[in-house]
């Protein structure tokens, strides 16, 4: 998909100081687990105490990032709300599974079941904003946020609206961290983000976060960046991946050397980092690159945080063309091209 989709506003909750507005990338120090947690904002500024008490973690982080994004853009009623999440509310899913066993399937509290539904964040945003139009939720690992973006771009192309709220949210629970650890998702030895990329071991460090964007087909006064194209590849061979990159750049009349910054999802996992390494060696040997997962950890929708970083650096550093290349455990690969057009 190719076009001009202007990012009018954004907001991110992440393991970085991204929500407060004073973002300076910091490599966090891990205490005892290969796991990066978000810096929790003061949710009570956004959500009344009665509602707040009932809401589980990912609902809070999803809803508040969305509300802040709308505030930042001065928009109360977007024309579509489209989200992505790989795992939804893990906390609620785990709680309901436990309740079923613990209470032997009787007198169960329905709240965790309701909140475990993948579109519950989307429903909450709509409820809060009294919003009544297009609403969709993608739940496909490293293609969750990507399809939320593609759907948003199609909504804008179709002329249904001129502003779409698109975002993603993901949490990591202790329980899920343990489970995924059993099948090699994380590094076995405590590995600091500063050493992540040179660790030379399989697995990576877990992360979480929530990021939302207001996209428009019209440039605005405060446009942060412009999405020019997206290309997804499912389980490609490296050859197919490289050919797709060449075609993608060509469609935009670009050479690899025209890319000012390459943001990569490199995460120090020796099973899968070769995709990044080989692509950089072949196409971007001299291009400045920013591996973002040392800042946020690995999760299904980490690419939403990469996009948020891209909007920052494009503006602050006056970059013209930025390419994000991310994949999730080697299965879902995405190129996202951004410019400073506004």
């Amino acid at each position: 998909m190719k076009g001009k989709y202007y990012i009018q506003a954004s907001a991110a909750i992440s393991p970085q100081e991204s929500f407060s507005g004073h973002f300076v990338p910091q490599l966090p120090t891990l205490a005892d687990k290969n796991l990066l947690r978000i810096k929790e904002p003061d949710y009570s500024v956004f959500i009344p105490p009665n509602s707040l008490r009932r809401m589980s973690r990912v609902l809070k982080m999803g809803l508040v990032a969305a509300l802040q994004c709308l505030r930042n853009g001065g928009v109360s009623m977007p024309g579509a709300i489209i989200t992505g999440t790989g795992k939804g509310s893990l906390q609620d899913t785990e709680r309901f599974l436990k309740n079923i066993t613990e209470y032997a399937e009787t007198a169960l509290n329905p709240t965790p079941f309701i909140q475990s539904t993948y579109n519950s964040v989307n429903g909450l945003i709509a409820l809060q904003q009294k919003y009544m139009q297009y609403n969709n939720t993608f739940v496909h690992r490293g293609f969750s946020f990507e399809h939320a973006l593609l759907d948003s771009m199609m909504q804008l192309n179709e002329g249904n609206t001129d502003v779409v709220l698109a975002g993603a949210f993901e949490e990591i629970s202790d329980e899920h961290f343990y489970i995924k650890g059993r099948i090699g998702y994380w590094k076995e030895v405590l590995t600091q983000p500063a050493e992540l990329l040179t660790s030379g071991t399989p697995g990576t460090i877990a992360g979480e976060g929530s990021a939302f964007f207001l996209l428009s087909n019209q440039p605005g006064n405060d446009s942060q960046a412009c999405i020019e194209g997206i290309k997804m590849l499912y389980k490609p061979t490296e050859e197919k991946l490289h050919t797709a990159l060449e075609v993608f750049l060509k469609q935009h009349n670009l050479e690899p050397a025209d890319i000012d910054l390459l943001i990569t999802g490199q995460n120090g996992d020796t099973n899968h980092d070769h995709y990044y390494h080989n692509l950089v060696v072949q196409y971007f040997p001299a291009t400045h690159s920013l591996p973002f997962k040392t800042l946020c950890g690995e999760y299904d929708t980490a690419s939403a945080f990469a996009l948020w970083i891209a909007t920052r650096v494009i503006k602050e550093q006056g970059l013209k063309k930025v390419l994000i290349y991310n994949h999730f455990y080697g299965d879902q690969h995405t190129f996202l091209l951004l410019s400073n057009d506004h």
């Binding site: 309901f96 079923i100 079941f113 993948y118 579109n119 909450l124 409820l127 139009q133 993608f138 496909h140």
Partner: protein
């Protein structure tokens, strides 16, 4: 002008049959698939009726031709059985022949299998085969298993908007075609019954202990079901190039949100009304062109009031024949939109209107009643198919007779 989108293949499995023909036969015979679970270990097994697919999981694996490959969840297997029929029905021998999108829908992924081993997975002292089910916890697993088995890789994704999931998958696939990103999209959903979901709906006091009675004054909730269904969507230009048979046209669609309540619809049916109205507008048809509405009709107290009022608001005194087919299949959640879209195709092709089983008494809030008889030789040119869900997510599709 965006390309028209045609339905060229259908495949399904539900409590009333392992393929489209069996489903059609049981619809004609007015034979409900509701009963009691034989596959789920739950205290509700003799209490809460369900629409369960007869075959056990190993049998499904054999039907899908993957009996020698472990690791497929029941969710994946139901999907695999349905998609193989859909491809065959569209005359597609090898899905790899064209860049194709697979847009799947799921509400709880592989929960049907993971819930059985979840506490073993959490126990550091336990090792074993169950570890290979860890990655089936999410919704993407079934989609990728199915995509890999049939060889689709251009666009592969999963939608989860509760009970409207597969209606949204159909819309999304149709839009990918209209935007020129693919010429062919296979869309639908798969849902296996789980203890998790049964207890979830039961905790909401939404399940009837009797067989569900949509649009009946005495209705008292839904019955859950399981199944899978996929529709092959192709662009008009591809259909012409392939000279393939068109089963029907997906002529209109709309997705709205209701912003009323996380699990209940508004009493005035605002979301349902908007979804139907706008889908019909997009299809270029008028209310007089609609012969049949396959309603969401879950038989919950709230849904049927809200949907019924929306029908009366949209159609006035001229509400077309309508029925809920959930007394046949149960409410199959993520698969429901696609299963019922296929029923809409069958209504058009077979000139049939399906009866709303288990109806006896008109709802006091409504002036309308569902069709309770099987109507044969009843020309149907346009069907509205409704799917409404948690989070206020409403989806309506318009499926139309192919006129060439």
């Amino acid at each position: 002008m965006a390309e028209r989108v045609f339905i060229t293949g259908v495949g399904m499995i539900s409590a009333i049959g392992n393929n489209v023909q069996e489903n059609l036969r049981h619809l004609r015979e007015q034979k409900s698939g509701l009963g009691y679970t034989r596959h789920i270990d739950t205290i509700h097994k003799n209490v809460l009726p369900v629409g369960e697919v007869t075959a056990d999981t190993p049998t499904l694996a054999t039907m899908a031709g993957v009996q020698d490959t472990p690791g497929y969840t029941r969710t994946s297997l139901l999907g695999l059985v349905a998609i193989q029929e859909a491809l065959q029905s569209a005359g597609i021998k090898d899905a790899r022949e064209l860049p194709t999108a697979f847009i799947n829908a799921s509400t709880v992924g592989g929960m049907c299998d993971t819930e059985k081993v979840y506490f073993d997975i959490l126990d550091p002292n336990k090792e074993g085969d169950f570890l290979k089910y860890i990655d089936t916890l999410d919704c993407a697993d079934c989609t990728q298993r199915i995509a890999d088995a049939v060889g689709i890789d251009e666009y592969v994704t999963t939608i989860s908007t509760a009970c409207s999931s597969s209606a949204n998958a159909l819309m999304y696939g149709a839009r990918l075609i209209q935007q020129g990103l693919v010429q062919r999209a296979i869309c639908g959903g798969t849902e296996a019954l789980t203890r998790f979901t049964m207890n979830g709906f039961n905790s909401l006091k939404n399940i009837d202990k009797q067989f569900c009675r949509p649009f009946d004054q005495q209705r008292n909730g839904l019955n859950l079901g399981e199944g899978a269904a996929y529709l092959v969507l192709e662009s008009e230009s591809l259909v012409k190039e392939r000279k393939v048979q068109v089963l029907a046209e997906l002529s209109g669609w709309c997705n709205t949100n209701e912003a009323f309540h996380p699990t209940a619809p508004s009493p005035e049916g605002d979301g349902a009304y908007e979804a139907m109205k706008n889908a019909l507008k997009m299809s270029g048809r008028s209310i007089a062109d609609v012969q049949y509405v396959n309603v969401h009709g879950t038989a919950t107290l709230n849904n049927d009031i809200s949907e019924g009022i929306a029908l009366e608001r949209l159609f006035g005194t001229q509400v077309p024949k309508f029925s809920s087919t959930k007394p046949f299949t149960g409410h199959t959640l993520a698969a429901a939109g696609a299963i019922e879209a296929i029923f809409a195709v069958l209504a058009i092709r077979e000139a049939l209107i399906f009866p709303n089983l288990h109806f006896s008494q008109k709802m006091e809030e409504l002036n309308i009643t569902p069709e309770t008889q099987l109507l044969e030789n009843h020309p149907v040119n346009n069907v509205i198919s409704n799917s409404f869900g948690f989070g206020g997510n409403n989806a309506s599709l318009v499926i139309s007779k192919y006129e060439g």
